[in-house]
Amino acid sequence: MKELLSIQRLSVSFEENNFAVRDISFSLQDGEFVVLLGSSGAGKSTLLRSLNGLVQPCSGSIRSRHHGEISASTNRQLRAHRRDTAMVFQQHQLIDRLSVLDNVLMGRLGYHSFLRSLLPLPQSDRQKALSALERVGLIDKALARVKDLSGGQQQRVGIARALVQEPRLILADEPIASLDPESSVQILSLLKDICQRDRIAVLVSLHQVEFARQFADRIIGMAAGRIICDQQSLTLQESEIHALYRHKLEAAVT
């Protein structure tokens, strides 16, 4: 396995002296399935968003093996890195009134110039979109409107959109937070399958310990903006899990 992304002493703050992410270092390898575990407000979303360049860190470095230093990159480099680093969002972030296929095709925008994207995308792109929809089991909904789909189906459209980017890494920000247990298992199994069969690394943030144990190769625990533990999921101790949520309790009590 080779190092895909290396994060060194990363900090992000939205207001002065209030850090959402503080002094975090870790690295991601090709094709591994990592769960970022922590309670809400621990800084998981901010960390994921900064890895895609949606949030600017205030210090530290994010280095990609393929695109170099991300925070100091040119616009072109950043676009290339984003194309390689697909995102799946908690609220799906799809355009309701467009068809499933058109939403999935948005994942191909990074491959085309502005002018080219005004015309219908090439046949090969549309084929890729259909294969992705087949992969997530929604081929029969390709021309339906997104708003007519259930929450679990919408999230699968989000994953298909990430797939057509042909990324090296998928960042999934609480992809199951608004889904029922059955759809949750379906979504996580899908992500795991994509990781194993396509050798795409997946970093998924969750707050459910059980799901993390069930699916992860490796679990990174976060609390109050810091990494509390980072290890293979089999070796994760009960005490460490408690430590993750204790922060929250202490904050609530004091």
Partner: protein, 269 residues
């Protein structure tokens, strides 16, 4: 495998068909646009050849702006401002009454919905200039007929926008309020109004600014305000005064715009 290739092909064909239909619609609209440009004479080389130089010749006659008559403009400006505020208030009052009847989701009956939308359409259909002329004939010169003209015409637009905002508001909180035993009137006041208030404030402040500009138009037919000054200066071809008046109006409209922004910010947190 071949079955899946077939389904893919079928989906792509339908997808392409949709794209072509959309393209066709754009083409139809584009034809209408180019057609109307031709009808109004924008493609008439003679009109353009004589018209453009005439406008260019007129411009130097407007400079420098002549502010000598400024003491006579203060009262009409205050009138215009008062007309816009009073007219908008009248419109808000009637629009608030009508909009709940004109929104499908709150209208008590289909008949009342039809009547309310008809009232809104009629008031919107008669331009404020025509309303101004009729009302000047009825109640005489001055700011009063102008205010009524602005108010009546604004009801059509404000009421329609209010009703649209109500139709577009989220059903879930309404259901929640209803589930708690609230009456229909309570639902409207406590569940719908808080949702649509920002949108209503937006169009209302926009309409206020619009009414100030419209007050100049109705002023031209003797219905009060700064419009009469502008039309008189135009009639006697005092273009330097016209440009001065237009500058004054520009300053007031800009001030009004920032004022309505501040007010909106202050009211809608």
């Amino acid at each position: 495998m071949s079955a899946s290739v077939d389904t893919h092909r079928a989906i792509l064909r339908r997808h392409e068909l949709r794209w072509r239909q959309q393209f066709l619609r754009v083409l139809v609209i584009l034809t209408a646009v180019v057609g109307s440009l031709a009808v109004v004479g924008l493609f008439d080389p003679n009109r353009i050849a004589t018209g453009v130089p005439a406008i260019v010749n007129l411009l130097p006659e407007m400079f420098p702006p002549d502010f000598a008559r400024w003491p006579f403009w203060i009262k009409p400006l205050i009138d215009s401002m008062a007309m816009s505020i009073a007219g908008t208030s009248i419109a808000v009052f009637f629009s608030l009454l009508l909009c709940f009847f004109a929104a499908r989701n709150t209208s008590p009956s289909p008949a009342l919905y039809v009547i309310a939308t008809a009232v809104l359409n009629v008031t919107r259909a008669v331009p404020e200039l025509i309303l101004g002329m009729i009302l000047v004939a009825a109640v005489g010169f001055g700011a009063l007929p102008g205010t009524l003209a602005l108010g009546l015409h604004s009801v059509g637009m404000l009421g329609k926008f209010y009703a649209e905002a109500i139709e577009l508001c989220d059903q879930e909180p309404i259901e929640a309020a209803r589930s708690s035993g609230a009456s229909e009137l309570q639902v409207i006041v406590h569940s719908i109004l808080p949702q649509v208030f920002p949108a209503m404030a937006d169009v209302t402040f926009y309409r206020w600014e619009y009414n100030f500009r419209a007050s100049m138009v109705v002023g031209a037919v003797g219905a009060g305000g700064i419009g009469l000054e502008i039309i008189s200066a135009l009639r006697i071809m005092e273009y330097q005064q016209v440009s001065a008046l237009l500058l004054v109006v520009l300053v007031v409209v800009t001030a009004l715009d920032s004022m309505s922004n501040a007010l909106r910010h202050w009211m809608v947190q």
